[in-house]
C-alpha cells in the first residue's frame, strides 16, 4: 500500500475542514469573492449572514455531497455495477416530477416543493421495488435495474407533460432551475430536516463499510462467507436511497456526484470499501462544497449547482482516468 493510500483518509479530512472554513468567507458580501475574517467581530450584518445563511448552506452542501458520494459507492457495489448512481431507482426522476407538480399545482415555496419532491422520490422507489417483484425476467439485481429504468422513464415522461403545460414565463424557469439542482433556498430549517435522516443513514453505511465488500461478491460466495445477503443488501439500500431522496428533495437533481465521486475515491484509496466508502463520502462533501462555493460566488446571479458538479465531475474524471498519478496500485 502506497504512502498516499494509507494517509488518504487523514488528508481528505484535513482538506474537507480547510474547505469548510474557507467557504465561510467566500461569497458576494461585502464585496465579490472574499470577506475578511475580522468582519465577523466587527460587523453585525456579516455575523447574521454567516450564521443564518452561509453556515446552514455549507452544512447542507456537505451533507448532500457525503450522501450522494457515499450512497453512490454503496449502490455501485451492491448492484455490482460501476455505472449505477444513487437516484436511478426512480428516486431522481420521481423527485423532479414531484417538484414540478408542486410548482405548477400547489405553491413554489421551498418547503412545499421539497415535501412534494420527497413524497414522489419515495413513490418512485416503491414503484421500482413493486415492479421488480413482479418482473418475470432475470435475477433480483437485474430486475431492480430494469424496474428503475422503467419507473424513471415514466416519471420523466410525466415531467415532460408538466413542463409542456407549465406557464413558460413564471413556472417553467422555476422548474428548470430546480431540476438543475441548487442550495439557494437552504436555511437552518432545511438542515434540521436533512440531518435526522441523512446522518443516521451515513452512520449505518460507515459502520458496515468493510461488510460492503462482501455484498459485491456473487450471491453464492457471499452466502458461503456467512452473509445474510438479502437482509444486509436491503438494509444498506434503504439507508442509501432514503438519504438520497431527502437530499434530492431539498437540492434538486445534482448530477454526477453519485456516479463519479465513488470512481475517483476508488482511484485514490483502492477498491476496498473500508477505505473507498469513507473516501467517497469525504470527497463528495468536499466536491459539493467547492461547487456550491463557485455557484454562489462566481457571478452576481447564482448558477445552478448541478451545472458545476457535472462540469467539474466529468472533467476531473477524464483527467484522472488519463493520468498515472493516482493509479491506486503500482
Amino acid at each position: 500500500m502506497s504512502l498516499w493510500r494509507r494517509h488518504a483518509f487523514q488528508l481528505l479530512v484535513a482538506l474537507g475542514l480547510l474547505t469548510l472554513i474557507l467557504s465561510i468567507f467566500l461569497g458576494r458580501f461585502p464585496q465579490p469573492y472574499w470577506m475578511p475574517p475580522t468582519m465577523l467581530q466587527e460587523n453585525e450584518l456579516a455575523r447574521q449572514l454567516v450564521f443564518n445563511l452561509r453556515l446552514p448552506r455549507l452544512l447542507a452542501a456537505v451533507m448532500l455531497g457525503m450522501t450522494l458520494g457515499g450512497a453512490g459507492a454503496v449502490m455501485q457495489m451492491i448492484f455490482r455495477n460501476p455505472l449505477v448512481e444513487p437516484g436511478f431507482l426512480g428516486v431522481s426522476q420521481g423527485a423532479g416530477f414531484g417538484a414540478a407538480l408542486a410548482i405548477i399545482r400547489i405553491s413554489n415555496t421551498p418547503l412545499v416543493v421539497a415535501a412534494s419532491a420527497a413524497i414522489f422520490a419515495l413513490l418512485g422507489l416503491l414503484f421500482s421495488y413493486a415492479l421488480a417483484r413482479h418482473l418475470r425476467y432475470g435475477g433480483w439485481v437485474l430486475r431492480l435495474v430494469l424496474a428503475g429504468i422503467a419507473v424513471s422513464a415514466l416519471f420523466s415522461a410525466g415531467l415532460g407533460i408538466l413542463k409542456y403545460a407549465a406557464d413558460p414565463l413564471r413556472q417553467l424557469p422555476e422548474i428548470t432551475f430546480w431540476l438543475l439542482g441548487g442550495l439557494w433556498g437552504v436555511t437552518w430549517r432545511e438542515v434540521l430536516y436533512l440531518a435526522p435522516i441523512v446522518l443516521p443513514a451515513l452512520a449505518i453505511l460507515w459502520l458496515m463499510r468493510w461488510r460492503l465488500n462482501l455484498l459485491s461478491l456473487s450471491d453464492d460466495t457471499a452466502f458461503s462467507l456467512g452473509v445474510a445477503v438479502g437482509r444486509e443488501r436491503a438494509l444498506l439500500l434503504v439507508a442509501s436511497v432514503t438519504a438520497t431522496a431527502v437530499v434530492v428533495s431539498v437540492a434538486g437533481i445534482v448530477g454526477w456526484v453519485g456516479l463519479i465521486v465513488p470512481h475517483i475515491a476508488r482511484r485514490l484509496t483502492g477498491s476496498d470499501a473500508q477505505y473507498a466508502l469513507p473516501g467517497a463520502m469525504l470527497l463528495g462533501g468536499i466536491f459539493a462544497l467547492v461547487c456550491d462555493d463557485l455557484a454562489r460566488t462566481l457571478f452576481a446571479a447564482e448558477i445552478p449547482l448541478g451545472i458545476f458538479t457535472s462540469l467539474f465531475g466529468a472533467l476531473g474524471f477524464a483527467v484522472l482516468m488519463m493520468s498515472n498519478i493516482a493509479r491506486g496500485r503500482e
Partner: protein
C-alpha cells in the same frame, strides 16, 4: 464406521420447479479428513448437490446433517465457519487487491460492524504464502490470469478455515503446475483433518486426488464408495453412457474413453 460423519445426507430430494426433479433421494455419509470426488455428466445435479450442502438451497425432502446437527439449525455465521466454497469462477467487478480479496474469507469470524484485525491479516497472508501468491498481494484481482484467480479464490477459502471444503471444478482453469499446486494444498488440508469434496468432469483428477468417489446421473447416485471400488469401467460407462476403459498406470488408475 466408528467416526461420526461430518456430513450426512438422508433421502435428499430437490426440484427447482414441479416439472424437473434435480435430485432424487440422495443419501450419503462423508467421513472427516477424506477427499471425495463427485463425477457425472452435465446436468447430473453435481452443482445443485454442492449448493444444498452449502445451505443455499433447501431440500424439499430429506435431511442434511453437519457433524450430527441438522443443517438448518446452524446460523449463517456458524455454517460459514463449517463449510467453505470455491466456486467454478467468479466475476469481480471492482479491483480489490489480492490481499483484500483473500481477507474477505475472514468474514465468518467478524461481526457485521467489524473491520479485519491484525490476526486476520496474518491468516490471509499465510494463505497467500501457502498458494505461492505472496508476490501478487498488491495486484488488482481483475488483472490476474484465470489460473491466478482460481488460486486467489483458493487462498480466500483457506483464510476461511472451514472444516468442510466444497470445490466446483477446482482445476478447470489451471495449467499443469498450478493444478499440481492446488492438489498438494488439498492433500495437505485433508491430512490436517479438513474434509474435501469437489465436482469434476475429469475422472483422472478423481483418480489422482480422491479417496472416495460419487457417480451421479440424472439426479441420483449411480455408485458411491472408495476410489478403487467405484471408479470402474462399468460404473463410468453407466454414468456417461459411452464405453470407458480403466487402466492401471504405475499403480494409479487411468481413465480413457
Amino acid at each position: 464406521m466408528n467416526a461420526v460423519p461430518i456430513l450426512s445426507l438422508a433421502d435428499v430430494c430437490f426440484a427447482y420447479n414441479a416439472q424437473t426433479q434435480v435430485l432424487r433421494g440422495v443419501s450419503l455419509d462423508i467421513l472427516p479428513g477424506t477427499i471425495t470426488a463427485i463425477l457425472g455428466p452435465n446436468g447430473a445435479g453435481k452443482t445443485t448437490l454442492l449448493r444444498l450442502i452449502l445451505g443455499l438451497l433447501k431440500p424439499q425432502r430429506g435431511t442434511i446433517r453437519l457433524n450430527g446437527r441438522p443443517q438448518h439449525t446452524l446460523s449463517r455465521r456458524e455454517a460459514s465457519r463449517w463449510i467453505g466454497l470455491v466456486p467454478q469462477s467468479e466475476y469481480i467487478p471492482f479491483d480489490f487487491s489480492v490481499l483484500e480479496f483473500v481477507l474477505l474469507g475472514r468474514a465468518p469470524y467478524l461481526g457485521p460492524l467489524d473491520m479485519p484485525r491484525e490476526q486476520d491479516r496474518a491468516i490471509a497472508l499465510e494463505a497467500l504464502r501457502t498458494l505461492g501468491l505472496e508476490h501478487l498481494r498488491e495486484r488488482a484481482t481483475p488483472s490476474l490470469s484465470g489460473g491466478e484467480r482460481q488460486l486467489a479464490m483458493m487462498a480466500r477459502v483457506l483464510a476461511q478455515q472451514p472444516r468442510l471444503l466444497l470445490l466446483d471444478e477446482p482445476t478447470a482453469h489451471l495449467d499443469l503446475s498450478n493444478r499440481d499446486r492446488i492438489l498438494n494444498v488439498l492433500r495437505a488440508q485433508a491430512r490436517a483433518g479438513v474434509t474435501v469434496m469437489f465436482t469434476t468432469h475429469d475422472p483422472n483428477l478423481a483418480a489422482t486426488l480422491a479417496d472416495y468417489v460419487i457417480l451421479m446421473r440424472q439426479g441420483a447416485l449411480l455408485a458411491a464408495g472408495t476410489l478403487e471400488a467405484t471408479l470402474t469401467a462399468e460404473n463410468l460407462a453407466a454414468t456417461y453412457g459411452i464405453p470407458v476403459r480403466v487402466m492401471r498406470v504405475d499403480g494409479q488408475l487411468f481413465v480413457t474413453s
